[in-house]
Amino acid sequence: MTLVNALLVRLADALLAPLAGLPPLAVVAGCALGSALAVLGVMRFTSNQVALGLVKRRIHAALLEMRLYNDDLRALLRAQGEVLRHNLSYVGLSLVPLVITAVPLTLAIAQLQAWYGYTGLTPGTPVVVTAAVERGAAATMPRLEGAGVEVTGPPRYFPTLGEMTWRIVPRAPGPTTLRLVTAGGTVIEKQLHVATGDDIARRSPLREQPSFVGQLLYPSEPPLDASAGVTAIRLPYPERLLPVAGQAVHWLYVYLALTFAFVLLLRKPLGVVI
């Protein structure tokens, strides 16, 4: 997974970095269009299009029946049973393409989230860095440092949570590396990207020890070394909301809505039954 992520991160950065100057909404819309085409393509070539068409017509027929016989309870119940049965076979028929599209889409969403899900920390505004630590590591109170970052106040250790916190004030805009130095001299790194205006850049709020789900959701950095006594480092990146019709909306909503809309719009012209 680490290797896959490293490749995906390179690929995503190669694709998305040149687009960072464009309005986020345009990039998200472009990605939605690409995803819609991918979904339709997979549907076209992996599903049983004929069977799908048949099931859809049967569902329509049963729905019509329900409307026609809505005063006959027995007919109504039977028609309802039909709808249910055909719906199940519809789900069954679309299962394969669904699974095939879900994997790359999830990977793509995780990459897009890193680029468009967060805004940078503001220079001059204090924030708290949190690390989940094992008891032994906390006893020696590791030190936090980073170029362009001022650590203000002592670290705090909360034994009941197994967490340490540091207050930092980012001073210099742009990317930097936070270094957590343990008493034994082990250095654990976490990438930090301070805002330059409202810039688009890869940001990851969490680096943790290896786990499948963790690597799926936070692919930007390799997992932490399990032996260092630090199990996770968190940064409080504010979430980025995109302006849509005067409202602030998370990019994922925009992306999902647009993907859905593109699929509906393009299925007829592309001759795909869904």
């Binding site: 708290v128 949190t130 906390a138 106040g153 002592p154 705090r156 250790y157 909360f158 034994p159 009941t160 949570l161 967490e163 916190t165 207050r167 709020p205 969490l206 789900v213 963790g214 959701l217 979430e239 909301l241 849509v244 019709a245 005067g246 409202q247 602030a248 909306v249 998370h250 994922l252 909503y253």
Partner: protein
């Protein structure tokens, strides 16, 4: 795996709401015209005329001094009584209280004598479906603004001139008539009150939940390094037996015992002792997967020897307020997006927590600094967005801080101590800061534009307290059945068969009138003679401690107010206390105490609920007004005249 933060989840709902608003606006909105000028009105609550003159003379208010030179500076006569909701309603409508119907902070229901907030009321849903312990409203309830009369910005909007009205007092729920509006004083917290704080304390004398004025004291203990508590919200609307919706939090103490990490839902904050948290969004559980959004701030007061954590009243969430607080509905969210979350509660400075010593003077000042910073940051944003028409922007912290810090300017105060001397500069410094805000507004003016800086009333020391109910008893107008019972609030123990007058709120005295009060004994024909008799007796009252009059003017409202539109709630007499004297808090709550006069020993040591002649506000303008004003009630008409609009208010009520 982190779930999407609450703000994201509400974003979808906001999008839908925005579409609905956009559609509605498309149908209803009239076309805007360009007024060709900007008129900016800065309303600074409680900005005192005398103190302003002193600071001007000392050269500390350079921007206001420039204004005074360019346009003018005069005292601005306030309303009767000079209380903020009354005064601002008078400014908004150009009417006296008899015509706009706001006489005090608190009014009483004449038949039950139950008291209620004067400026707004919630109308419960009409039909309710009950199922076991649950109840479900079939129609939605709503809140209503009780202020009568037409707001002056409605007149401008009717002519197509854009208005932006930010934090106008006595404008909750927002009128809906301005182009942009955020409600101010009178906006409740989530409990529907002016603000209920919670103080969690491990002190041994706090062993059970205790209600104090303006707050709740809750016991809490640090067990194995964690203190767990529950912040109580309003009663669950779907439960028949009142059960508060509650938010749980855990405060984890750090290994050195100097900080805590507070966990509320998905949110965490690290607080050192003495530190205020940023806003923490909280969700009051309504249904599975549905919460009512609110926000709180925490203050870690101490960790040793006792754990003490102050939690602010639960404010309505500006991103998704459970009650309407802005026009259009998303304007509050726009302000929050631009400058961060903010106090939506009407009077955010927690002077009541200060008054019961739940906050120290320094803690209250730190909190007032937070509110002032929020409103000043927002002012810069609003000013930047403002292009044309009218902008009204309100600052409330000067008034609130003046109330609890005035003693520092008043060495003759009976409760003055050396400790007060430390704070002597505090109020003056706030005036100086407001002068800088005035400077920002001046910088935004073009050659055609006008800046008005005004206040609703001034300030005076509050040294001596009068229990008006006790005064009425001693003068034979009020009788008690049982002297002990009469020391409970709510006029308990009053013998209504022998009582001809009683007091509720800060300045109002009411006759026990037949046909209005349910146990009324005063025949309506007697009313005006009796009012005049009581007023005359009051004006002759001398405070034995100072040997000076305690009441300089008692207004018989039938004569003082031209408007008489609210006969059921209008007091019969409005008491104008001498400078330095005010009604005792006990009396305002309906307690008939043993003594009439007492020293005021509360931290609340400055006030303005006196004879209006003693507490004028200020009026500065950047150029002479076309129609000059020296009374608050005339000012709106003068502002409208700058836009060429005359004939406001439609119904005159000048006495």
């Amino acid at each position: 795996m982190t779930p999407l933060p609450a703000r994201t989840r509400t974003a979808g709902a906001m999008l839908l709401a925005a579409c609905a608003v956009a559609l509605a606006a498309g149908c209803g909105g009239g076309a805007h015209v360009v007024a060709g000028q900007k008129v900016i009105v800065l309303g600074i609550d409680g900005f005192d005329h005398q103190l302003t003159r002193d600071l001007l003379a000392a050269g500390r208010l350079p921007n206001l001094a420039r204004l005074a030179q360019q346009g003018g500076f005069t005292p601005l006569a306030t309303s009767t009584p000079p209380l903020s909701p009354v005064a601002w309603s008078t400014f908004i409508t150009g009417l006296d209280p008899g015509a706009h119907g706001i006489f005090d902070f608190i009014h009483r229901e004449p038949d039950t004598l139950a008291s209620f907030l004067s400026t707004s009321r919630t109308v419960p849903p009409g039909k309710i479906l009950t199922l076991g312990p649950w109840q479900f409203p079939l129609s939605s309830g709503r809140v209503e603004l009780l202020r009568g009369g037409e707001a002056f910005w409605e007149v401008l909007e009717a002519r197509g001139i854009e208005t932006t009205i930010v934090r106008m007092p006595a404008n909750f729920p927002p009128s809906g008539k301005a182009t942009r509006e955020l409600s101010g004083m009178g906006t409740p917290d989530m409990l529907g009150t002016y603000g209920i704080f919670t103080l969690f304390s491990s002190k041994p004398d706090v062993f059970e939940r205790r209600d104090v004025s303006g707050g709740v004291i809750q016991p809490i203990d640090v067990i194995d390094g964690v203190a767990r508590g529950t912040i109580e919200g309003p009663p669950h609307p779907y439960r028949i037996t009142p059960t508060p919706m509650a938010v749980e939090f855990a405060a984890h103490v750090d290994a050195s015992g100097e900080a805590v990490l507070i966990v509320v839902g998905d949110e965490t904050r690290v607080l050192e002792v003495g530190e205020w948290s940023s806003w923490v969004p909280v969700g009051l559980p309504l249904l599975p997967f549905q919460t009512l959004p609110g926000e709180v701030r925490f203050l870690l007061k101490s960790l040793t020897p006792y754990f003490e954590l102050y939690v602010s009243p639960i404010n309505l969430d500006p991103y998704a307020p459970a009650l309407p607080i802005s026009t259009p509905g998303y304007y509050a969210a726009e302000l929050a997006d631009a400058e961060g979350r903010f106090y939506t509660q009407g009077m955010p400075e927690d002077t009541r927590a200060r008054n019961v010593e739940a906050l120290t003077a320094d803690e209250l000042l730190a909190q007032a600094r937070l509110t002032a910073d929020e409103t000043r940051r927002q002012f810069r944003y609003v000013l930047d967005q403002f292009r044309d028409g009218l902008l009204f922007y309100y600052f409330g912290h000067v008034d609130q801080v003046s109330h609890v810090m005035w003693r520092s300017l008043d060495p003759g105060h009976p409760a003055y101590t050396e400790a007060d001397a430390r704070y002597r500069a505090v109020i003056g410094d706030l005036y100086v800061e407001m002068d800088a805000v005035v400077g920002q507004a001046m910088a935004a003016l073009g050659p055609n534009d006008l800046l008005v800086v005004m206040s609703d009333h001034g300030f005076a020391p509050w040294r001596r307290a009068v229990n008006v109910n006790s005064w009425l008893r001693d003068h034979g107008y009020l009788a008690v059945t049982d002297a002990r019972a009469a020391t409970a609030p709510g006029l308990a123990g009053v013998d209504w068969t022998k009582t001809r007058a009683y007091a509720v709120g800060l300045n109002g005295v009411y006759l026990n009138l037949q046909g209005r009060e349910s146990k009324g004994i005063v025949p309506p024909a007697e009313a005006s003679r009796l009012s005049a008799e009581i007023a005359a007796a009051m004006e002759g009252t001398v405070d034995p401690a100072t040997n000076t009059p305690a009441i300089t003017k008692a207004f018989v409202t039938a004569a003082a107010f031209a408007g008489r539109a609210y006969p059921r709630i209008e007091p019969d007499i409005v008491v104008g206390y001498a400078r330095g004297t005010r009604v005792a808090s006990d009396s305002a709550l309906g307690i008939v105490g043993p003594d009439v006069f007492s020293d005021n020993r509360e931290p609340w040591s400055g006030d303005h609920s006196m004879d209006p002649a003693h507490v004028p506000g200020v009026l500065f303008t950047s150029r002479p007004l076309k129609v000059p004003a020296d009374r608050l009630q005339e000012l709106a008409a003068s502002i409208l005249a700058e836009f060429g609009v005359t004939g406001f208010p439609k119904v005159r009520s000048t006495p």
